[in-house]
């Protein structure tokens, strides 16, 4: 007996409720953009400069006392958060202190860090500082640029590749799904105020990769079925292709999620934000390859006659009442 997550034979109509699913996607995207504009991302020091100090102590973290100890140093905006993690031992009390970039300094001077460390140590002698990171405003500005550049380049490259391998409609569908995934990820990061740093950009690009992986597998089957069933309605072909690949889509998502969830739970707090982004991306990416990429393909229509490539291009699009 085999474990089956998806019944052997499915013939679900994935586009029956397309208005609801597509509407939900659009609403979620608008919501994400709004949250991003209103609340904004919780940028880490990689992107806005400043210093983070990770503290570890055998005594319980008292955020208020930490704040009082640092306040006399007059460092401007200081945020202190306690970090909880199941991997910590009973005597591990960890906090993150973030200090804004100091005016005039490229990177926060060693004196400032030392002053903070001394202030905290006089108050709690057992405190240690396992990590101190400081990024100057010059570098952080550039990091933002490279990050945006990386995402745009990745999307552009994908657009071209799929266009070459398939048709321009496929390419638009895939890219729409990618944009959908990225916007939703930025939305959830704004909503939950998870620290957004350089590693999250890596996660974003992996989401791009993963979502694409999924979309391409579905599209590959669509292309095959379009050749096979020349007379069938595009809507039916799409639905059939999604049904045929459904088992694989779910299997891969589940194995990837299994791996990611174990990393999320056991991998420590340092990469938790990063892993969260990927888990979210896998879920959203799987959804979008069906309900966004394929739906867009349905709206745009596809050239049906694959036996004579490039002849009559432009007047052979399927006439679909979507």
């Amino acid at each position: 007996m085999r474990l089956r997550l998806v019944p052997k034979q499915t013939s679900w109509d994935f586009f029956r409720y397309w208005r609801a699913t597509f509407g939900a996607s659009i609403a979620a995207m608008i919501g994400s953009v709004l949250i991003f504009l209103i609340v904004g991302l919780n940028f880490g020091i990689d992107f806005r400069g400043g210093t983070t100090i990770r503290t570890e102590s055998t005594q319980a973290v008292d955020v208020g006392a930490y704040r009082d100890a640092i306040a006399p140093l007059d460092l401007g905006d200081v945020s202190i958060t306690e970090v909880f993690d199941p991997t910590f031992g009973p005597d591990e009390n960890v906090a993150m202190i973030r200090i804004q970039a100091q005016a005039g300094d490229e990177s926060v001077s060693a004196d400032t860090v030392l002053a903070v460390e001394t202030a905290l140590q006089t108050f709690d002698p057992s405190i240690t500082f396992p990590a101190v990171e400081s990024v100057g405003p010059k570098v952080s500005g550039e990091l933002v640029q490279t990050a945006i550049l990386a995402v745009l380049l990745a999307i552009g490259a994908v657009l071209v590749y799929i266009w070459l391998r398939f048709e321009w409609q496929f390419s638009l569908g895939a890219v729409a799904a990618l944009v959908h995934d990225i916007v939703l990820t930025i939305g959830i990061f704004s909503l939950l105020q998870i620290r957004f740093d350089l590693a999250i950009i890596a996660a974003l690009l992996t989401i791009v990769g993963y979502s694409l992986n999924d979309t391409v597998v579905v599209f590959d089957r669509v292309r095959e079925n379009l050749r096979k069933y020349k007379k069938k309605d595009l809507k039916e072909v799409l639905s059939l292709s999604i049904n045929e690949t459904l088992s694989r889509t779910v299997m891969t998502s589940v194995t990837t999620l299994l791996a990611l969830v174990s990393l999320y739970v056991l991998g420590g707090d340092v990469i938790r934000g990063f892993v969260f982004a990927m888990i979210w991306g896998v879920i959203v990416g799987t959804y979008s390859s069906v309900f966004v990429a394929s739906a867009i393909l349905l709206f745009l229509g596809v050239k049906r006659d694959w036996s004579k490539p490039d002849a009559n291009a432009g007047n052979q699009y399927a006439n679909v009442d979507a």
């Binding site: 400081s134 010059k138 690009l205 999924d214 694989r248 194995t255 174990s262 056991l266």
Partner: protein
Amino acid sequence: MLQIDLWKRILIWCVVAAGLLMAMPNAFYTKVEQHNDAVAEIEVLGETPERLEARSGWPEFLPSSLVNLGLDLRGGAHLLAEVQVEDVYEGRMDALWPEVRDALREARDEVGTIRRQDGPVDELRIRISQPDGLRRAVEIARGLAQPVVSLTGIGSTDIQVAGQGDTLVVSLTDEEKRATDDRTIRQSLEIIRRRVDEVGTREPTIQRQGTDRILIQVPGVGSAAELKALIGTTAQLTFNPVVGRASSADDVAGGRSITLPSIDEPGAFYQLERTPVVTGEELTDAQPSFDQNGRPAVTFRFNPSGARKFGDYTAENIGSPFAIVLDEEVISAPVIQSHIPGGSGIITGNFTIEESTNLAVLLRAGALPAELIFLEERTIGPELGQDSIDAGRIACIVAFAAVLVFMGLSYGLFGIFANIALILNVAMIFGLLSLIGATLTLPGIAGIVLTIGMAVDANVLVFERIREELKTAKGPARAIELGYEKALSAILDANITTFITAAILFAVGSGPVRGFSVTLGLGILTSVFTAIFLTRLMVVMWFERRRPKTIEV
């Protein structure tokens, strides 16, 4: 039907075996690391029983390259420094001045007397007393121009000369500035490397980034501040004639002099001639030592040309003070007692033993040609790194186990094949990482975990396809064959697109992003290899032996 040539089979197994062999040292990380350290030490420092023992801990004939652990896993300090390349222009202009002066003096009849004016530091401004002779002066100065020594600057000269009224303005051309900047960065790199090597930490990464930046990563250093103290000091040592003393920095003696503070006496300043007699560049050696009163000091020795300049100057100026200046601060200003011909001397000041040792290291390694500004500093404690490794390891094992069980349950025997391939796959990732000397970072571990999840994807695509083909095809062998054939385009398209994003991440990313892209990219390569060659080979070998009438996937 299902046929794979013998040579292909051998090749596939050879690739797998090579991957395993390359990955093996990582399973015995500490032992191999000690072995590698011992080998390096024996080469440099000679054999000792302990080192020989450490070396014999790992057999010579086995590969010994390891995956480098990134700073976030091992702990250490990371600095990104920007070299202030413009600093060098001033020195170039100062060096040019005597040359221009001598050349103009020969034409004194036409240009009259000459005098250096103050101006921007990257310009040499010379006023001549006969403005009519300016054209001639410009001509003479142009005659001193040298061709630029660089690949891109061919055909251009190093200085440009302009005349403004009665003033001659000499500055560096853009080509020469570029060539100079490049030299400055290279020199800075070399000097930073020497300084880091002097204190003997292992495997530091010191590399150029972009046009004027240097990335320094040193594992095992206590803090970025320590590292900064070592490499951030310019260590520009000069010996300048003293004009007088002053009580504030604003009290300038006029002419081309500078006023610098004293290190030892707060509030005391010296007025010095701007042009030094000798500089630290002409030192050949510096050692920590003690002066006649038993206080820590640094002895130094000049090279022949430095020794001659120093000797001549001391012979001519007996009885007058001169200042030993380090990075714009006067260490001491002794009075010249006698002619010092040998080219060696001693720097005394209120040093601690540690300070004198450090100063000797800095002087020996040479001065940085320009100041460094630090844009980024990160310190990761070794315990935090170890915690991350432990957490990552547990997460990997659990992820692995979960995926293995899940695949076994879903695909039965074929799932087991995929699982074997998955294990070999991860081993091969480590093998490749060791082979190319890549650095494993925390996001890199995440990349591996992601690969574990996604590596099964290619197999899943094939297995699902075989299931479908079983419904229609004429028998198990045909179904397997068709399954592989038809899944191939989806596998390739899906993985190529992911590989494109990994490549882009590698190209534009830095630090953590790069570490992640490397493992992701390698993971894609190995997982495609295992899916379309390795699992297939296993399936075929099983099929040949059993010849089942029906199969269940």
